[in-house]
Structures are given as C-alpha cells and as structure tokens.
Amino acid sequence: MSTAHTHEHHEAPKGLGRWVFSTNHKDIGTLYLLFSLLMFIVGGAMAMVIRLELFQPGLQFVHPEFFNQMTTMHALVMIFGAVMPAFVGLANWMIPLMIGAPDMALPRMNNWSFWILPFAFAMLLSTLFMDGGGPAGGWTLYPPLSLQSGNSFAFVIFAIHLMGISSIMGAINVIATILNMRAPGMTLLRMPLFVWTWLITAFLLIAVMPVLAGAVTMLLTDRFFDTSFFNAAGGGDPVMFQHIFWFFGHPEVYIMILPAFGIVSEIIPAFARKPLFGYASMVYASASIAFLSFIVWAHHMFTVGMPLGGELFFMYATMVIAVPTGVKVFNWVSTMWRGAMTFETPMLFALGFVVLFTIGGFSGLMLAIVPADFQYHDTYFVVAHFHYVLVTGAVFAIMAGAYYWLPKWTGHMYNEKLGKFHFWWSAIWVNVLFFPQHYLGLAGMPRRIPDYSVQFADFNMISSIGGFAFGVGQLLFVYIVIKTIRGGEKAEARSWEGAKGLEWTVPSPAPHHTFDTPPELDDSQLAHGGGH
C-alpha cells in the first residue's frame, strides 16, 4: 500500500543540509527525538548533582544557591527539553504514518518549530555561566523570589518564550495534519488512540502556552521595567502569579501524560494480540481529563490561604479526575485479560507504566484531600508523586514507544536482551529512587532543600543510590539506540506479530516518503478492532 518512489521528489540533500533544511516529517521527528535524548542526559546530569548533595546530611559538594539552580534547571530541561520534544518527535514520525498522510500539513513551520529549540536551550543553559547565575527560584518561577534573580533572568524568560512558540507551532501542525490529512475512511473514531490523545494535547498546548508567555512577560516587566503585577508594595499580588502559572501548569501536566496514554494504548493491544478494550471510552476519558485539567489548577496552591469555598471546589474537581483516569487503567487491564501476551521490551515498559503510573495516580488522589494536603504540600511526598507520573509515567511510555517503533525508524531490530535488561534495571532502581521519597515527605522533609536533618539520612541515601543506578542505566538506552541505528537484525514491515495500524504497512525502515497516494483502510488494521 505504500508506493514506490520512482518519481520527481526532490532528492533529500545529504549531510548537514539534510537536517538543517529538512521539511520531512520523519527527519524532523528524528531531530526532535535525538534532541530530547540529549536533554534527557543533560537534565539527568543535574539530577545526579542533586542526589549527590543529598546523599548524606551536611553540605559536601555545592553551595545552596547552586543547588537551587540545579533543581530549577533540572525541571525546566526535563519538562520543556526532554519530555515535550520527545512527544512532538513521536507525533512527527508516527501521526502521518498512522493516519495515512504523506507528511505533516505545514512542513516548513515544522522545520522552524524544531530549530527554535536548540537556540532556546542554548540560551537557557548559558545562564548557568552568566554573572547572575541560572534561575534558582524553582521552575514555577514564583515571585517575589524569582524577581531576586540577576540580569540573566531575562535570558531565561526569552528562552521560555521560544519554547512556547515552538510548542504552539508544533501543536498547530498536529491539529492541521489530523483534521485535514487523514486517509479516506480514517474517520475520527477510527483513529489510533495515540493520534487522538495528541489531538487533544495539541488543543491544550494552544490554550495554555500563551498563558505561560503572559505570566513570564509580567515577571520580565516587574523585574526590569518597574511594573508591579506581582509586587504587593505596588498594588500587585504574588498569589495572582500562582493562579496564572497553574492555569498553564496543570494542563501542562496532562500535556505530558496524554500522549503517554496514547502510546501505551497502542502497545498493550499489540502484545496482547487483542483489540484495545473500550476504545470509545478511552477517547471520552482523554477528553474529560483534558477538560478537567482547566478547572483544577488551584490544587497546587491549597496552602496559599484560599477561601473555604475555593478549597472545596478545587478538591472536588480534582477528585473527579480519578474517574476517567481509573477508566483508562481498567481498560488497559481488560485489554490484557484473556489475551495471548508476549513480553518484549515495549510491552514490559508499557506494563511498568500501568503499574507505576497507577501508584502515582493514587498519591495524586491523596494529595487532592485538602486537609491532608496541608501536611503533604511542598514535601518529598509531592516529589515522589510527580516523579512517579512523569518518570515511570511519561518517560517509561516514551521508552516503550521508542522500542516499539525503533524497527520502523531504523529498519533494524534492537537487541532484545539488552532492551529487557534496560527495562528491569530501570524498573527496579527507579523505585529505589522514588519510593522512599514518599516516606521522607510523610516524615516531614520539605522539598527543594540542599541539606536536611539527620532523621532523613537513611532514606535519602537509599534514594540517591537508586538515582545513580537509574541514571547510569539510561546510558545503556543511548547505547542500544545507537547500536540499532547502525545495524542489527533486519526488521520486517510488520515488526511485531500483533501490531496493528497503518504504520506497519510501510517497509522498515520507513522510506523517506510514504503514502504519496492515500492507503486503503480496512478494519483489521485498527488496534481497536474498528466497528465504531
């Protein structure tokens, strides 16, 4: 069904030019993914500094100010540099292949939205070497603290603006592609779930990235042009920043998890050899989660002293999210039920995702209970919670997706033994890393502190050991990826026995141009069995 390429496509330029000037969704997808991997290493290195300093009580390695720069930068790099670009890279590669489109709808903009990122991050990271130092007020940039930054703060804000522009352009591209370029017969309710979750994510991005841009612009003018948006002495309100920031920030959380839901919903049916259970309810659950994400923002700020009515509203709204999220988990388990499962690396990561993301979901539900949150808030319990949903959630899903589609991208099978080792290594150590942090938070350790009372020493040391081992393990992933790019067992078009979807109808590696003529669709190609 893919067509041969004997015709007048421009030959892709060779060498550096191929990448710099590319308008090809596959090349740009590759760029996004490699960039995200690089940022994952950079952000991971910062996490190693954090865990090193927290290895034992007392300050051994870094000054508190530098420690704060590390926690702030680690978050910014991981969120905006690693997780989000990884999802955009997967979207670039897979959405056209999944819906039978020849490319993204807006290929030049696609090029631009990627190439902004290296500049944005060069600027952000360069602040670490400037006089004023890197941002040290936390990735949430709460004023008045963030306004105490040096002049380098302006670079941080412009870097965030650039990342926002890049994300918005990427989102516009995804929406334009999905709404306009589906192959005949690929109706909305026949789209693979990864496409659905990305469509919803893209709308979230367009809705909230401008809000972040507005918030940081006000910080910029407060810091450099004597405005008082957030300065109480000038009639402003520091809490207003938190409301604006979390109006962006909470949907942002789902921006980082919805595509993960999509990936896992592709992989579990493939390796269970069984249609996805409850496809329609999966779509509706994703949409409900997206809607709810706009009305729960203040649960990040239960301790700022909101009126009782506000606290109750945000508590109830947050608890409601557990319902559609629960539906998703139940559907994944039902998909496995009475399947014929095999456990290749993508499936292992997907199963790891289901278990560990669910644990993160549970702690999220606990955090929704306002009186209990008065204890949990801003402690390591919260740190444990969001690392369960972001590392064993989002990152595990990205890993699962990478192993699942690597054969399609490179034309080679990765080394299954190494892949499985990578999974088990990661799954064990990530729990050694993050599970004790629940205990630390409950026992009273605040987050974002460079040093701690001796009662917290044991679990911090365990957590650090887990962190170092987990960190080292990810270098194995880099090795596996490079090795697979360079060679390996030849991958078939349908690289996995149970894999469904149009992407498996084109050869592996996917040729530079695919679906020049739209494919014909039949229901057996759908991971959810069609019939809706």
């Binding site: 109480a232 009782l308 009186p371 205990y439």
Partner: protein, 380 residues
Amino acid sequence: MKRENYFIVVLAVMAGVIAAVWGMFAIGDNMPRGVTEFSRQVYDLHMVILWICVVIGVLVFTAMFVSIALHRKSRGVEAAQFSHSTKAEVLWTIIPILILVAMAVPATKTLIKMEETGDAEMNIKITGYQWRWKYDYLEDDISFLSSLDAGSDAARQLQSGIEPVDVDNYLLEVDNPLVVPVGTKIRFLLTAGDVIHSWWVPALGWKRDTIPGSVNEAWTRIDEPGTYRGQCAELCGKDHGFMPIVVEAVSKEDYAAWINEQQQLAAVAKTDEERLWTLNELMSHGENVYATQCATCHQGDGQGLTPAFPALAGSQVATGPVADHIKVVLQGRNGTAMRGFSDMLSAQDIAAALTYTRNAWGNQTGDVVQPSTIAQLTNG
C-alpha cells in the same frame, strides 16, 4: 483452563501483592499523628484514603498479574477478541464516584473546622523573612526573631568538617523558640516581609504560606506540652533549608511566667534604645548582629558572594554618607535580596550593625550610629 487453577493463581498473586504492600508499610515512615485534634483528623483522613488506594491497587494489580501469569502466548492460549462491555464500563465509572463521595464527606467536615479561626484566646503574628521567623504576641506586646541556632549554622557550611550527627537537632533548632500555652486556642496571622515562605510544624497538622502583602489565618490548640519542630516549606532562596521552626508548648502557669520574663527583658531593651552607646559597645554588639543577620549573604569577612551579594568591605555604601547607608539598611533595595530591616530588627541592633560595618575590615570611617537616631527614623 480449569477453574480451580484460576483460583489458586488469583490467591497466589493477591498474596504477593499484599505482601509487597505490607513490606512497604513495614519499612517506611508515616505521617505523625500530631498533638492537636486537627492533626489527628488529618492523620485519620490520610490513613483512610491510603487504605482505599491500597484496596483498589490490590484488586487492579491482582487482575493484571493474574492475566500476565495466565494469558501469555507461551502457554499456548488463544487471544479472545472482545473489545467492550457496557456493563463493566458503567460499573467501574459509578463505583469510583461513590468511593470519592464517601471520601469527600469527612474531608469537607475537617476542612470546615480548620477554617474556623474565631473565638481565639490569643493571637500570634508570624512574619517570614529571608531566612528567619519573627513572632509577635499581639496581646502581650512581645516580639522576637527566631533563627537557626549557632551549632547547626556552623555545621551546615559547605565542607564545614562538622558531622551533622554530632549536632543536637541538626537544622531543627532555633535560638528563640515560639513558646505557647497548651489547651489554648491560638490564632496565627501569617505574613512575610520579602518573599513567600510557608510555616509548617507537622505535629500541628498543617502548613500555611506566609505571603508579602497579605495576611493568612490559621489556628491551633495543642494538647500536650512538648517541643515540636518544623521547617519553612516554600522555596525562599538560598537558605530555604535553614529556617527551622521550634514550638515549645508549656503549661499555662509556665507560659505566664515566661511572658513576665520577656516583658522585663523588653523594658531593659527600651532603656537601651534611649541611652547613648560607646563605639566599643556598638562594635561588640554589632559583630553579633552582623554574624546572625548579615553574614549569610555578605559573609563574615564582608567580602560578599558574587554576583548576587555585594562586598561591604570598602564598599561605597558602607564608607560613604551615613544617611544613605542607613536608608539602604532600613528600606532595602528593590529588586535584590537586600530587604529593609526597619520592621525586623530593633533600633539598637540596626545601629550596632551599621556602626560595625562602617568600622570593620578596614572601613575606618569612625562613624557611630546611635540607637536613638534609628529609633527616631523608624518610629517617626
């Protein structure tokens, strides 16, 4: 496959999952029950929601691992092809909603009680500063700062060579604890002088942000005498990890005696503010004030910490006109970490610190700043 096999696998998997959960409970720490009615209610809520999560988790993970154990291709099973069941989907939407409603009821009740700050028998204003707390007893006119104690402060310096285990209550000890009576409803009014902080003592069951420009309310009634420790819980700059909180709850009689003692000390301080001080007196008192209030940023040798914290040794401010120097110290510098100290330190502390910085480390100005001068500026 035979039914009894299923049964055995389900039991085995469930036992495994429960054992894993039990292991997590056995090795870990839990939230303290605390010493107030509210903290115990919070603990109960925490345990209820935790158990709900555990039960749901055991069921879901059991189903999942049974499936992983039995429904695998290597056992030669054929995959079923069902893809939905309206009955199941309705069921697992409705049941969670009911559980959530059941959970919301006690949470709402507890929350409403927490917000009832009326009928307080006494009021304490808490002000967060970088990086110490100020406590004002509104009825008794007592006011003092509470900072990290000297032992912890020495040990927490980078590569100090002092083992934290050798320091009593490392990072959880202060010079002046908050002394309160037991069995008394105390209302706290919380605000901040520079950036946002958060006042948290786990044994009381809550934390509340202290925010510049607004006043938050919270209350407590402590049941048992004792010393309860906590920390600032909102990132507030480089020494966020070093502004602990110590609450000493004492009997009402002991509290009355303590108040008496504090008021006498305040009277002595008042006369100190009015008399003329000698250069030597100011220098020796100033050295102490400088060490506790200024040295964190400007460093003990007055060399500062580039880039954020300028040197005072040889600086234009510390060796230039006295009036400008006083103004900076009283009002702070906008857009920097230099805050105004007029509402935070006493007149004699400020005067002594000014005199000290104008005469230490080769800043030989010979200037003497009298407490009475500062008092006039701040009160007038």
